[in-house]
């Protein structure tokens, strides 16, 4: 969901950029091994949620940019609404009565 959301917000972006963004936005709370991003991106490619193409990065190097597909956008919607449901449930549980 984080990857989809990032791509939704930033538009086409390479793996490094996605990792940077997640790190910044979450203010370093979500610290995972950055490499685990790539198997996840592969799974999304298979599902057809993202497409990938080679482009030029800011530093003039070849980088692979991932772009959200319509199916990906739909999936993002699904995941956000499910996440919201879970969050609301948790909030209700932990709220002081």
């Amino acid at each position: 969901m984080l990857i989809l959301k990032t791509l939704f917000r930033l538009g086409p972006m390479h793996g490094y950029g996605i990792a940077q963004h997640i790190q910044q936005v979450s203010e370093d709370v979500l610290q995972v091994e950055e490499g685990s991003l790539y198997p996840a991106l592969q799974r999304m490619l298979i599902k057809g949620w993202v497409t990938a193409e080679w482009g030029q990065s800011d530093h003039n190097r070849r980088a692979r940019y991932y772009r959200l597909t319509p199916a990906g956008k739909k999936q993002l919607g699904v995941e956000i609404s499910e996440f919201d449901k879970v969050m609301q449930a948790i909030t209700r549980v932990i709220q002081p009565a």
């Binding site: 793996g15 990792a19 490499g35 198997p39 592969q42 298979i46 599902k47 057809g48």
Partner: protein, 884 residues
């Protein structure tokens, strides 16, 4: 919902995997470089994690790991197969046998019972049958006017087509060939849904006036063979029965017709209204208006929405409305007629034979299923033995970190690979088996059995292979899941606990038991065949040529026919190598008998007895012994006093204790008196199961028939006289069709197809099964002895005599064989109840058969266990104790 796209993407990437790997690597390098620029290379690597692992995971996401592993497994399986070629060959051959015979029998079942006829929506086709209350089997024939009535007045069929088999002479240059064909109504091909591959089908107008439109369609196969597939065939002329016909179309090669009970595929079609040319006697009658001449069959296609029962009700009404017409035509027997519609798929051979055919096929299926069980248990026991041997290897691989699931998958791959190899080899076995079994004509009627391997049969063999492969793969699997690492790795691991050895013993017992069932069945059918052949009254029938002479189509009068018969006999007698020659009306074992009424004593009521017409030398020619009096002679000619020869049964029945010679019999139809001049030995004529009936013979010279069987006893190999006999016939009448010549023995054996097939198949399979069981016994014992080497060594060191050791091994073996035999006997006795109706002259519980079979199996088993027992007795205690 998304998966087709997903599959496509996976596939696409599978073909570009090198590209993919490069992309991923570059992408990750880019990531690391960027990170390193920001935080330094060491920190970058730390934050990024294990790059190799992530690459692996990415690949796995695409599903290539599975593919990789499959290839690895296949390579590994092939390597193991190569390492033990003996094991591989035995397993593949055993499976080939099991799968092959099953596939062969399945191809029969499929062709005869399961597969729909090769016409579009063949389940909508129904064939018209009639049943008479006093006649047990429905028949399908009807007259042309009846057909037209049903065709024009029913409201349930989209079309009703009529057809009949014909045999016609086709002339090619100077050559005349007798070819099979069909005479069909103009709508025949459109009702069936068959489109000509070239030209067109018949037009309604071409089937309107007798003899007017000489048009013909040819079979594609015939067109290719005779005319080289020339597309200019349409419009050409061919000569049929001396009349020139115009070819209008070519019928596709996969057309088989509605009926399978024929000897050859039809190769030409003419419209029904060409009956004056194509049907014998057709030119003398107006078949359009002849209600009594039932020469056609009719099959229709149901209208969309109409059900078979609605159609049948409609046809019942029509049949009732036809009855007054039939009555007016003095066809009184039709008053009680019931019309019924049978699905064409279920009436591709006479419905009367359906029960017999189904029962016989069921027996064959059961037999080959037994064979597959034996093959499976043999392979299973081989796999078990190998699994034990491979335990250390498997333990090693587990220790090195192989996942159990992965190992299981690999073993399954091995099992499947073996099974597929077995299945592929099994197709060859199937082809050969089907071909040789079809040669027996086992169904009591001529059936056109294609013996090719087609997609359905292939699918069956494939399914069977998968099934067996999974089963085999799973056997060593059980062992994998039980392996304890430490034990497997130590030499100790090779010493098995009792469990898998018990499993192997069970498999051997099962093999012995199944072999016994097959062998006992073989014994019963061999006895049946012997008894059936012994019931034949003729002697040395292999030296007698038999051919059917049908003068009917030549339209000789009686005098001319008799002249032809005697002139031919004179010519045949002059041939070197001919001992004697004669004519007979009803050939023994021909499937039918002649019957007629006689009045044995003046004033008695007429009695029906068997009846036959023969020429003078008949009894001598086929070897039926003359018991009293004389056979027919030249003096029993037309105009002389009526003579008759009777069998012993008739003499005993009507003149018990008296000499029948000189007694007079009164024949009822035609009324005449015949004096008994001789008595011959009893014989069965209809078939071996028939009762011996009272029977009398009259001389052919005094009772003319236009169709007789010619029998020629030869002093030399009868095959060498076939051409000469044909030549003599054709030099008397060039236009007479001389059908196939065979020996009396092959004619008789053709009628015993089912018995011969059962005996041959069960014997062959029984012997193979026994061999397999013997190999199994040998394997189990050899293995047990090898495992017990140390124990035996200790016992011998402690003073056991080698004979005692040998005896203990043999006792173990006999215990296995004995329990197998016991179980087999029980199983066989339980199963034979189902085949007792197929046996003849032997009880299904015949003690001799079972005792013999058990003795054979015990002897074979003892023989197979002797080498391992001997090896055990030769164990050198010192070597044994040192061996590990």
């Amino acid at each position: 919902m998304e998966w087709p796209g997903e599959l496509w993407r996976r596939l696409l990437f599978a073909f570009r995997r090198r590209q993919f790997d490069r992309d991923l690597e570059e992408e990750m390098r880019f990531h690391l470089d960027m990170k390193a620029r920001e935080a330094g290379p060491a920190a970058a690597r730390k934050v990024f994690g294990n790059a190799a692992l992530f690459q692996e995971q990415s690949r796995e996401a695409w599903g290539w790991i599975a593919l990789d592993q499959l290839f690895q497994d296949l390579r590994y399986a092939l390597r193991t197969m190569r390492q033990s070629p003996g094991f591989t060959v035995v397993v593949i051959l055993t499976l080939a046998l099991g799968i092959g015979v099953n596939t062969a029998i399945f191809s029969f079942v499929d062709r005869l019972l399961l597969r729909p006829l090769p016409f579009p929506q063949s389940d909508r086709l129904a064939t018209l049958y009639f049943r008479l209350p006093w006649y047990p089997t429905p028949y399908s024939s009807l007259s042309y006017p009846s057909y037209v009535y049903y065709r024009d007045h029913n409201n349930v069929l989209a079309g009703l087509a009529a057809y009949a088999d014909i045999q016609v002479n086709m002339r090619f240059g100077d050559d005349t060939e007798t070819v099979p064909g069909e005479i069909v109504s103009a709508n025949y091909f459109s009702v069936l849904g068959v489109a000509p591959v070239l030209g067109r089908a018949f037009l309604a107008d071409e089937d309107a006036v007798p003899g007017r439109n000489a048009v013909v369609m040819l079979a594609a196969e015939f067109w290719r063979r005779r005319f080289g597939g020339d597309p200019a065939i349409v419009g050409r002329q061919v000569a049929i029965n001396g009349v020139s016909f115009t070819v209008v179309g070519i019928v596709p090669a996969d057309y088989t017709g509605l009926q399978l009970d024929r000897t050859a595929r039809p190769i030409l079609w003419v419209p029904t209204m060409m009956y004056p040319v194509a049907v014998p006697f057709g030119s003398e009658w107006d078949l359009r208006h002849l209600w009594g001449d039932e020469w056609l069959s009719a099959t229709g296609r149901l209208k969309p929405g109409a059900t078979l029962s609605q159609a049948e009700a409609n046809f019942a009404q029509l049949t009732d409305r036809l009855k007054p017409i039939w009555r007016a035509e003095e066809l009184d027997e039709k008053d009680k007629l019931n019309g019924l519609l049978l699905p064409a798929n279920e009436s591709r051979f006479p419905p009367a034979s359906r029960g017999t055919v189904t029962r016989f096929l069921a027996m064959l299926m059961a037999v080959v299923a037994l064979v597959l069980l034996i093959a499976c248990s043999n392979v299973a026991s081989l796999m078990l033995a190998r699994a034990v041997k491979r335990q250390r290897e498997i333990g090693m691989r587990l220790a090195l970190g192989a996942g159990r699931a992965r190992l299981a998958r690999q073993l399954l791959t091995e099992g499947l690979l073996l099974a597929f190899a077995g299945g592929a080899a099994g197709l060859t076995v199937a082809l050969l088996t089907a071909r040789s079994l079809a040669g027996f004509q086992p169904f009591g009627l001529q059936l056109l059995l294609g013996t090719g391997i087609d997609s359905r049969v292939l699918a069956f063999a494939f399914g069977l292979s998968v099934l067996t492969g999974v089963v085999f793969g799973l056997i060593p699997l059980r062992q994998v899941s039980h392996i304890e690492l430490a034990r497997a790795l130590k030499a100790e691991g090779l010493r098995r606990g009792p469990r898998s050895f018990g499993a192997r013993n069970l498999l051997v017992v099962a093999q012995v038991a199944l072999s016994l069932v097959l062998l006992a069945g073989a014994g019963l059918f061999v006895r049946t065949l012997r008894n059936a052949q012994a019931a034949d009254v003729t002697r040395n029938p292999e030296n007698v040529l038999l051919l059917k002479l049908d003068l009917t189509a030549r339209r000789y009068d009686t005098a001319r026919g008799q002249r032809f018969y005697s002139a031919l006999l004179d010519r045949l007698h002059a041939l070197p190598g001919v001992r004697s020659a004669a004519y007979v009306l009803v050939v023994p074992f021909g499937g039918w008998r002649g019957g007629t009424d006689i009045v044995p004593h003046p004033g008695d009521k007429p009695v029906q007895v068997d009846f036959n017409a023969v020429s003078a030398e008949y009894f001598q020619t086929v070897g039926i012994p003359l018991v009293r009096g004389r056979a027919f002679e030249a003096r029993d000619r037309e105009g002389a006093a009526g003579a008759a020869v009777v069998n012993e049964q008739l003499a005993r029945r009507f003149w018990p204790g008296e000499d029948p010679i000189g007694k007079q019999i009164q024949l009822v139809q035609p009324t005449r008196l015949a004096e008994i001049v001789g008595v011959v030995r009893d014989g069965r004529f209809r078939g071996y199961r028939a009762d011996v009936n009272p029977c009398f013979y009259v001389p052919l010279a005094q009772r003319y028939y236009s169709a007789m069987n010619l029998e020629v006893r030869t002093a030399v190999n009868p095959g060498r006289l076939v051409a000469a006999v044909r030549h003599e016939i054709q030099s008397l009448d060039r236009d007479l069709i001389v059908p196939e010549v065979q020996t009396l023995r092959s004619f008789r054996d053709a009628g015993l197809g089912q018995e011969r097939l059962s005996a041959a198949l069960l014997s062959g399979l029984g012997i193979l099964a026994t061999l397999i069981a013997a190999i199994g016994i040998y394997g189990v014992l050899a293995f047990a002895v090898a495992e017990r080497t140390r124990e035996i060594g200790i016992r011998m060191a402690l003073g056991a005599a080698s004979r005692q050791v040998m005896r203990s091994v043999l006792t173990d073996a006999l215990a296995l064989i004995g329990s197998g035999v016991a179980i087999g006997l029980v199983a066989a006795l339980a199963l034979v109840r189902f085949i007792s109706s197929l046996l003849y002259g032997v009880a299904s519980t015949d003690p001799a058969v079972y005792a013999g079979t058990a003795a054979i199996l015990i002897a074979v088993g003892a023989l197979a266990s002797y080498p391992p027992a001997r090896r055990a007795s030769r164990v050198d205690p010192m070597v044994a104790l040192r061996c590990d």
